[in-house]
């Protein structure tokens, strides 16, 4: 690789397709198609299956929870998906929602890398934040796990998230650090040049030089973001002390929408961790965890359904508002894959079969309701999502194959 001038470094590093354009509110320009985004939402206590799945095939109106959806033609509900290896996992199955690793309850469990992280690796380079993780509770694991098997702690405070995305920051220390690193690299170049003159092992020097050049590009990329202004966005978070749970969920969806719209990131996870104490939603107050273990009792199911309807109300609003934002040849929703589901098929029994999964947006040809013939690994769908985002992997988690479930 021959030497490149410093001017070219800067050009190479800074001319990321959407970086410059995304400083405004529009993420797409005439020349470039809008980027693909993806968001994963996990409701860690699941949904009461008889109210969730449409009673009549293809007919959303026959689902108590989903009949009010405002973007029904851009949604597919899947039936008969599951993760193998969860039969004794109970709540630990949450850890494997986006990884598919079996036996998460074991004291010696080591998790795999979660789907959002695999995607962030490939898709995260063009935005200020390679990925974002949100949760509604400060104690959860979240659903995002890195390549070393550690949970990535999610953010749950809306104010702080807003500040991080759009607020001013003092980045002087980081800028100084970058400068020092660049200085080191310059001197390493000197040493390499000196060794070449002396005739040292060219293959070794070449391979090392190639790597430090790549590192310089990475440093320039970081420097670009440090110097770039953050997008200016009006604060649209709500504050309703009576329904704190509901408000937080609403705000987190709002932040996700803003993050996508300003192209601050392209990969988000939102973990609706289960809360041990009581929460209050319109129509019900109760312990979400204890209600979800209703044991079939009608009054508990009724209370539980109010909570679940509330969460889906926010989900619905999120989809609707994303669909109102025009972008390129379609809407922001058309360019964002939304995966909403749960690690539990039945939270009352702690079983993990027939998981409630919805895939919305993304520009696919949606089928409203797809029920697979036999229990199918959810990781097949995950593998397909990787392929749909041009990430070439042969397998993911417990996947068997890409079944082409999302057409178009």
């Amino acid at each position: 690789m021959k030497d490149i001038s410093r001017k070219d470094f800067l050009k190479f590093g800074a001319a990321l397709p959407f970086a410059l354009h995304s400083l405004g509110l529009k993420a797409a320009t005439k020349k470039n198609p809008p980027p693909q985004r993806i968001i994963f939402i996990c409701s860690c206590l699941g949904f009461y299956a008889p109210y969730f799945f449409p009673g009549k095939r293809e007919d959303l109106a026959s689902s108590l929870y989903l009949k009010g959806m405002q973007t029904p033609e851009k949604m597919t509900i899947f039936g008969n998906l599951f993760h193998p290896g969860m039969d004794t996992s109970n709540h630990d199955s949450e850890k494997s929602f986006l990884t598919g690793s079996p036996s998460p309850e074991s004291p010696t469990f080591v998790n795999g890398m979660s789907l959002d992280q695999v995607m962030a690796r490939e898709m995260g380079g063009g935005t200020r934040f390679p990925f974002l993780n949100f949760s509604i509770y400060d104690r959860g694991w979240g659903i995002s796990w890195n390549d070393r098997g550690s949970a990535i702690p999610p953010m749950h405070e809306e104010e702080k998230i807003f500040e991080m995305l759009f607020g001013e920051e003092d980045l002087r220390t980081r800028k100084l650090q970058l400068q020092n690193d660049q200085n080191i690299l310059n001197n390493l170049h000197r040493d390499l040049a000196h060794l070449r003159i002396k005739g040292a092992n060219a293959g070794k020097l070449d391979s090392y030089q190639a790597v430090i050049k790549e590192l310089e590009i990475q440093l320039n990329h970081e420097k670009f973001w440090l110097n770039a202004e953050k997008p200016k966005v009006e604060k649209s978070l709500s504050d309703d002390p009576e329904f704190a749970f509901s408000t937080k969920l609403n705000n987190l969806f709002e932040l996700a929408k803003l993050a996508f719209r300003t192209d601050s990131t392209r990969v988000i996870t939102l973990s609706m961790d289960w809360i041990d104490g009581a929460i209050k939603v319109p129509g019900a107050t109760g312990g979400w965890h204890s209600l979800s273990h209703h044991g079939g009792q009608a009054n508990k199911i009724d209370q539980l359904s109010k909570i679940e309807i509330d969460t889906l109300r926010h989900f619905n609003r999120f989809l609707f508002e994303m669909d109102q934002i025009k972008e390129g040849n379609g809407t922001l929703l058309d360019h964002t894959t939304v995966v909403m589901g749960s690690n539990f098929g039945d939270a009352s029994n702690h079983t993990c079969n027939n998981l409630p999964i919805i895939v919305a947006g993304g520009g696919y040809r949606h089928q409203v309701h797809t029920v697979l013939e036999k229990p199918t690994p959810l990781c097949n769908l995950y593998l397909e999502l990787l392929h749909k985002h041009n990430i070439d992997k042969e397998r993911f988690g417990s996947s068997e194959k890409d079944m082409g479930l999302l057409k178009g």
Partner: protein
Amino acid sequence: MKHRHVGNHICTAAIAWICFLTIVVASEANPAAFRKLEEAALVQFENHCFDCHDGETKKGDLDLVLLLGKDNADSSIIFEHLITAKMPPKNKKHPSAEEKKLMLNWLAQRQAGRARDSYRRISRHEFVQSVNDLLGVKLDLTGEIPEDRGTNDFDSDRRIKLTREMLSSYFAATDAMLEFALPDKGFTPERTWVTNKIKDSHATYNIYTRPYKEGILFSWTRANNGNSYSFFYDNFDPPVPGWYELTFDAMKLGDFPEDVSIEVFAGKYYYADDRPQPQRLLDVISLGNREIKSHKVTVFLRPGENVSVHCYSKHNFRQKNGNQGAYIKQLKVRGPVLDQWPPISYRNIFGNLPLKVPAREHLRVSTSHTNLKAIGGSVTVSSFQEGMEKERMLDGSNRTFWHTRFKPTLAKPPHYVILENPAGKAIEGLNYATWSGGNGNGQVKSFAIHLSEDGISWGKPLMTGALEIRLASEQPILFPEKTTKRFIRFLVTDAHSLDGRSLASIGKLDVMASLPVNDSSQVISVADPSPEKLRMVIRNFAKKAFSSSLSDEELAPYYTVGLQSLEKGGDFVTATKAGLKAILCSHRFLMAPGEHKNDSYKIAADLARIFWLSVPDNTLLELAEKQQLSARSIPDQVDRMLKDDKSQAMIHSFCDQWLNLRSFNKIAPSLKLYPAYNDLLNHYLPLETEAYLNYLIQENLPIGHLIDSDFSILNQRLAQHYGIDGVIGQHLRKVNFEPSVPRGGLLTMGSVLKVTAAGFDTSPILRGAWISKNIAGNTLSAPPENIEVIEPEHGKQAVTLREQIEEHKKSQACYACHKSIDPYGFALENFDATGQWRTRYRVKKPHGGTFQYRPKGYYNLAGNVDSSGEINGAGFQDVFGLKQILLSDHRKIAYNFIKKLFEYANGYQPDLVQRLHLYAMIPDKPDQCRIKDLITKTLVYSLTGERS
């Protein structure tokens, strides 16, 4: 030609080989001689191989004539089959020793000189260990650096290239380690804490601990969902990342002979079992003493982590108010501890330069049960019931509580608690918790907060609020703004009542106050800094890091980095760090070989990397400077380096890679089938293997011990797992067995058996292939494509897995390879996926509803294990028989071991010429064939090309 088993040639083979090798060298330079060799060799192939392996007969789908006719075909597999006597088969005519040598020699010659990369990058483990040794600290950041092995066996593999991601993480890791060694803001004082209080746990776990004498009695805690629950110590929070010395004053309670184990963890405190935050097992304390004794462990902790303990014993203590288990009187913590003052890192880096060193501060942290007490406050209550006084809500535990009076008379409302703040400290709020337990009577549902300066006139409430009942974790009550008022009244406006009586009860009540924190720090600096001193410091460090002395010109780039920092900011230590960072991210450090002034320096660097995963020490550097590292002096160094504790790094790394213990945690044994498998066992199984290999090497035992021996290195937990009695205490020690015990040697070690199991149960094929390739030394071709994996079915009706695998015998194509795979797997079927002995298979039972852990597991016993088989015509009944068969050819075992070691050390498999040399080094007699000798000879050869 008469049939002669190759084994009979062993006596004369070695000598003949040595002579022949000189001819080998001559042939390389001489094309005419090579052609003669080729003709002679082909005659032998004609006589012994082509009958079965030509274009027509093509046995095993192999056309040797065609293959050997191609110039650049790889004949490694043919070579291996020939040298390990797999081919020709037993019932065919065999070449004599001379003839065989011809064939092997020709195969080696035609592939000699094939290109391989002449360099490699150092692995992340070598990086972290080297930097730790150079800086004189212990900070394990390997988890922060991406893994780089891919599908290769060894980290050192030259095909693995340095990537941007790796280099970027090396930059970050270097920053962290330099900051840890030479902190910008200085060192915090060393503190001491003493505590005997644990944080609240969910009520269901409270049967496992109780206050006892001056401390706490812990009993066995396997929770009902299989999780091991541990209890967090209160009043100790590590202020900075660092090493902390924990001293547990503890003793065992119970009439049984075994020790009770205290597992010490680090983790973030959590209240109930709903969200166990991941915990790290730090160490294990083995309690055998029945009088209080101090047990010390030194562990690494970060802020935000707490120390927690879990008491383990194979005996079940699950009972309220039990009197068996571990009694811990107190935990004393001292830290962050430094090896000396000023720390060794300053000596390592600045040498003898005069330093400005402030006196080391030591603080004792006072621990009180409540913040209220810490600010000098106190409490009065509206009334109390005898036995439920106000003190019980101030002891920091929700297991005791305060209650308003109900006997002999019922106290009338208002019910309240007044907290007094005599020093006028800033209070942000209150922390409240109900009593954990009981029927909920009296639990506060709503409250009002009033403030006062005199405790008499209260005015309007500051705030009102509601509280959860039936939830015993802490509920914070935040005031709208801080207050410094002298009196705070917590008024109960509504409480839960089962029978309508007016009652109130509180488990814990405390104030939220920011307590003053001592954040003093002691900065060490260099006296009279100057550019010359900086140059000297950087030169000394570079010499050790690069394993070479540097000229001024070579040093210039690294010195420049430091100088630029010095000229900009002025601080000597910061400038030093900049220069050191440049050194540690340089290709001279990250690539091997680096740029060495002479060959001895290169050998020094290689030796240090192989045995210590680190940089050379002063002894090696001195020898290198004098160019005294040669085939003659290396064996002494090997001896010295192996005796040094630092060689544990090599043992650990070699076992990790050769035996794939790195994947040890990839499979979690099913809780249904293996309910006794716990994290304690998981911790010790790999340690047994490392300790065993270490013992073999240090004692230079014969190579046969890899296959079989009459001892292993065990402790109490491992012995329980293997069914061996009489081993008390968790320290590892040599245990001899009776001949009837199948243990001893790598094949029957729990760690190896677990790592070779697939999924929830064992697969004879996977295990067999693994043992066959990695230990027995067979060479196997890749499996054919399009073969489906067979799922194990152990039920009585189903076709057994064994029967399914035996189908291999029906096909020549399958059996050609599988005869070297299946038998090994069958022999080991007596060992389940955790390495325990079994004679019958286990099948999972289904469960209904939420899964509840059962100590007896959920399984039925199914079919019997049949561990018989046959290798090369020799039959065996079980693993004992298999071991005898393997031991009959010690050269094959030794050859395999040597090849693995060579690959580990050099990053590529030895080529065929090198293999001939290596094979020739193996002694004829099994008891002369000793492990340390083999290691030494192999490394002398690979480092110098000579024989020792």
